[in-house]
Structures are given as C-alpha cells and as structure tokens.
Symmetry: C2
Subunit: 120 residues, 2 copies
C-alpha cells in the first residue's frame, strides 16, 4: 500500500456524499477529532499521506495543518463493519484542535459515572 483508489469504492458515503472520519493518535490512542470526508478528500488524503477533510461550513477541501503546520500523517485508514465510518490513525505534528488543545475533546465532560468519582 498505498492502495488503489478503487479500494474505497465500496464505502457508504451519506446522502451528501460524506463519510465521518474519526481521527485517533497512533502514539497515545487518544481520539483527537471527528471530521468529514468526501470522495475527493479521501483520495487526496491517500495521495498526500495526510488528512484532508471536507469542510461543511466552508464547502471546501481542508488540508488539515496546511496553514498552521499541524498536519496529521496518516498511519492507517480502517472502515467499520457497515463501511459508513472511517477510523484514521495518525501521527500528529501538533494540536488537533483550533483552540490549541491536543484533542478537540478537551473541552467539556458532560457526564462521569459515579463509579469513577473520587472523594476529594
């Protein structure tokens, strides 16, 4: 690999031609972000070896880190059992989040099991 683009011809893009991509650090296992890809951004990701998303708000391709330098080198791309979600493991060259946080999920925890709570 890299594989031929036809390798992902079986993917189930949604009615808008998009598929969600979960981005996980290959080094820490941390989930960094979730973004969307279309056929073209997935093709470009494979060609570049770096994540390229489809920005739904700007309606344009978005090469992650192209301006900030915080690119994501793709280690692997997996599909799930119904081929409608991607799991992309990356080695990240900086924070994933525009806020400067390592992960976009650093923002807010809305629930913690009472089993996990400490007494302090």
């Amino acid at each position: 690999m890299p594989l031929d683009k036809n390798t992902f011809a079986h993917l189930n893009f949604n009615d808008s031609g998009l598929i969600p991509a979960i981005i996980q650090s290959s080094e820490t296992g941390r989930v960094l972000m979730m973004a969307w890809m279309n056929h073209e951004s997935l093709s470009q990701s494979i060609e570049l070896g770096e994540t390229v998303f489809w920005s739904r708000s700007r309606s344009e391709l978005w090469h992650k880190g192209a301006t900030s330098g915080n690119t994501q080198h793709i280690v692997s791309i997996e599909t799930d059992c119904d081929a409608d979600t991607l799991l992309i493991k990356v080695r990240e060259n900086g924070p994933a989040c525009h806020t400067g946080s390592e992960s976009c999920f650093d923002v807010q925890t809305i629930y913690i099991s009472s089993d996990e709570e400490t007494d302090d």
Copy 2:
C-alpha cells in the same frame, strides 16, 4: 455527576436531531464503534449509565446489548470543541460488533502508510 439533562442542552444535534457518538474502550483505548444518539437516547444513556443509541435503519431506540448482553457501561461522555460530536468512554461487557469482533473497525484496513510496512 450524573449531571442534570440540561447539561447537554447546548449540544448541536444535526438537522435530523442526531449527534454522532464515538465509543472508545476506557481500558484498551480502542475505538469500538460509532453510532448516533438523539436527545432521548442520550437522556436514557445517562439515566441507565449504559449506551442507548438511535437506530437510523430501524428508527427506534437501541439499548446496546439489551438482547446480547454486550452492554457498554459509560465511564464518561465528552463533547468536542463545536459540541457536535460525543466521545463516550465505556467498559464493555463483550464485543461491540454484531459480527462478534471486539471492535466494529476490525473489518478492513483500506490504507497503511508505506512507513509502517514491514518487509515480510
């Protein structure tokens, strides 16, 4: 916590009233699956302390593991920076996937970086 349901009033559900939920094992860090929640399934998840999704194909609430026993005990629920995706860490009582695999992402790897390839 558990927190009041109003804690997630700020979440950005999509036009169909859904929000994607990434399910990650709290023990192994493995991403197990991605599914969708609506307001009701998120409420029930917090009340039960187990994942309850919205099945888009069956248009009904889906208490994960209710029949198989492969429930997912919720450890924490986090939101991302734009509050339109959930990251739910769970302790799973069995395989996440209907195929019997630990993860729904055990199915197919469509790309591996040439950096990661071995010579065997």
